[in-house]
Amino acid sequence: MRLDDQGGDQVQIPQRPLAPTGGPPDAAPQDLARGEGRLAGWHAFGSGGEGVLVPQARLSGPTPWVIAIMVTITVIAAATGLALRNIANAAALDLSGGVSVQIIEAQPPIRAAQAQAAQKALLAVPGVVSARVVPQAELDQLLVPWLGMGTGSGDADLVPVPAMIDVALDGAADAGQVEHLRKALRKVAPGARVDAQSHWLAPVFEAMDSLRWLALSMIGLLALALAAAVLLSARSALGTHRQTIEIVHNLGGTDAQIARIFQRSMGMDAALGSLVGLILGQIAVIVLGARFAGLGAGLLTGGALGLLDWAVVALVPVAAVVLAMVTARLSVLAALRKML
């Protein structure tokens, strides 16, 4: 009986239990309410139910785009940091066993003789894999950018340039090993200068280290900025849906239930934004990688990202989603604790 049809005291309350404990499942697929609920997609309380308690703005709102920008920059920063690490590792590996010997002697014949003698002496030292006297033509070529053509030290009248011996050790060129080489050269080439190649590039490695720390700091700052953006977004959503929250609160909804709604909502926004950010970031990294590879500079070719590196980059959006969800949950719980 409808309320409007009831004359006065004859209102009948439904006999069926109002709070069901095991009633038959509804089998009417055309039912308006169920159909509409299913379209709305509830999922608010994890019951597989229907309806959307907090309407989603999705890509029409600013949050996914803010997250997309953050993730794009973070992906680029992470890829840069990893590439720098790879460059440094490759260079260190190349140079760790390398030693340069300079035979400093003004007279070319004496210099050449000392170089030959030094090569022999060096090859006799345990741990030396090879000792190559760098040909004069090669040295001249190296000097062209600084001294110009026709100034090669092959001509005795021009600038005297030390003879170079490129030594490779079977281990790292530590101070002890370098000292052994110096001792071996003392008799045959008293003016020889022995340097570990890694020592020359120490400032470069330090600069690379700084850039890696910079990339890491950028990632940290971006994570903070992302958390702040999510915090603002969650607060805004809380303000917009305050009445709904109060209704659910007064109906006996727990803090965890309400927080879960916002957490899920923010998670969806973050997932969308992160996906867009990952795609944009990867495009940027691939284009930049191709540009650097095109330079053909020996040091930079070692910076290519491996599979593990790409896996780390792919973790950036995952981390962004987790961070967004945790931030949303904590901010909503904090706001709810202010209510009774």
Binding site: R2, L3, D4, D5, Q6, G8, D9, V11, Q12, I13, P14, R16, P17, L18, A19, P20, T21, G22, G23, P24, P25, D26, D31, L32, A33, R34, G35, E36, G37, A40, W42, A44, F45, S47, G48, G49, E50, G51, V52, L53, P55, Q243, T244, E246, I247, V248, H249, N250, L251, G252, G253, T254, Q257, R337, L340
Partner: protein, 241 residues
């Protein structure tokens, strides 16, 4: 389960102050007994809504003691409050329906909050909406419903979980007199099933529509008991207020 001798709620020397202003409720004390129908009357600004907010656990008092269902509600840990709130149905003057949910989903909300499996939600919700005369408006959004229809959805939502206590804050304030009487009939029907009902109203005519109801009166934040029934509640069925 109720408290001592069927007590649903007990207020002792309750005072409420917002900020540093004077108390809006002062030394309020009364007991609500299970199964009775109460009217809370008083002029606008007398403190009716504030009192009801404390009754449905949306507000803590500044002082005094409140007992709900035999439990001290003042010291109740926060995590236990939702369980108590689910035993109380609330109807507001401004309905407070979730605007983007259909009538069906609004009424289903308490069941979903309580974690009732979805397969067990649909039929009771349909029954409730049919009971309040809205079987044909299940899919309608609140904005497309009239004031009386919205209030009926709100009542259906408040009672679908079979609360032990139903609190209604000026439920007839935004509906025409005929609809007001019809809404009261719904409350009466629920009361007959054993639910304690508290209806706040400043409309003195409504009081006469529910014979046997008990009247609490608030005047400038102080409670009076004009019929004496609060102190000496009649037994159910005696017909004496």
């Amino acid at each position: 389960m109720t408290g001592i001798a069927g007590e649903i709620a007990r207020f002792d020397n309750v005072g409420l102050r917002y900020g540093s202003d004077r108390e809006v409720l002062c030394d309020v004390g009364f007991t609500l007994h299970a199964g009775h129908f109460y009217f809370l009357t008083g002029a606008s600004g007398a403190g009716k809504s504030s009192l009801l907010r404390m009754l449905y656990l949306a507000q803590r008092p500044s002082r005094g003691m409140i007992s709900l269902f035999g439990t001290d509600a003042i010291t109740l840990p926060r995590h236990r409050l939702p369980g108590f709130r689910r035993r109380i149905g609330v109807v507001y003057q401004d309905y407070r329906l979730v605007p983007h949910l259909s009538a069906f989903d609004n009424v289903a909300l308490p069941l979903r909050v309580a974690g009732i499996p979805e397969r067990d939600v649909a039929q009771p919700v349909r029954d409730m909406l049919a009971w309040v005369g809205l079987a044909d408006r299940m899919g309608a959004r609140p904005a497309t419903l009239s004031g009386g229809e919205q209030q009926r959805v709100a009542i259906a939502r408040a009672v679908i979980g079979r609360p032990e206590l139903l609190v209604a804050d000026e439920p007839t304030g935004n509906v025409d007199p005929d609809m007001a009487v019809k809404l009261l009939r719904l409350f009466e029907a629920l009361n007959r099933l054993g639910t304690t009902v508290v209806v706040a109203t400043h409309d003195m005519h409504l009081l006469q529509k529910v014979p046997g109801s008990l009247i609490m009166r608030l005047d400038k934040g102080r409670m009076s008991d004009p019929t004496g029934a609060l102190r000496y509640p009649p037994r159910r069925g005696s017909g004496q207020p």
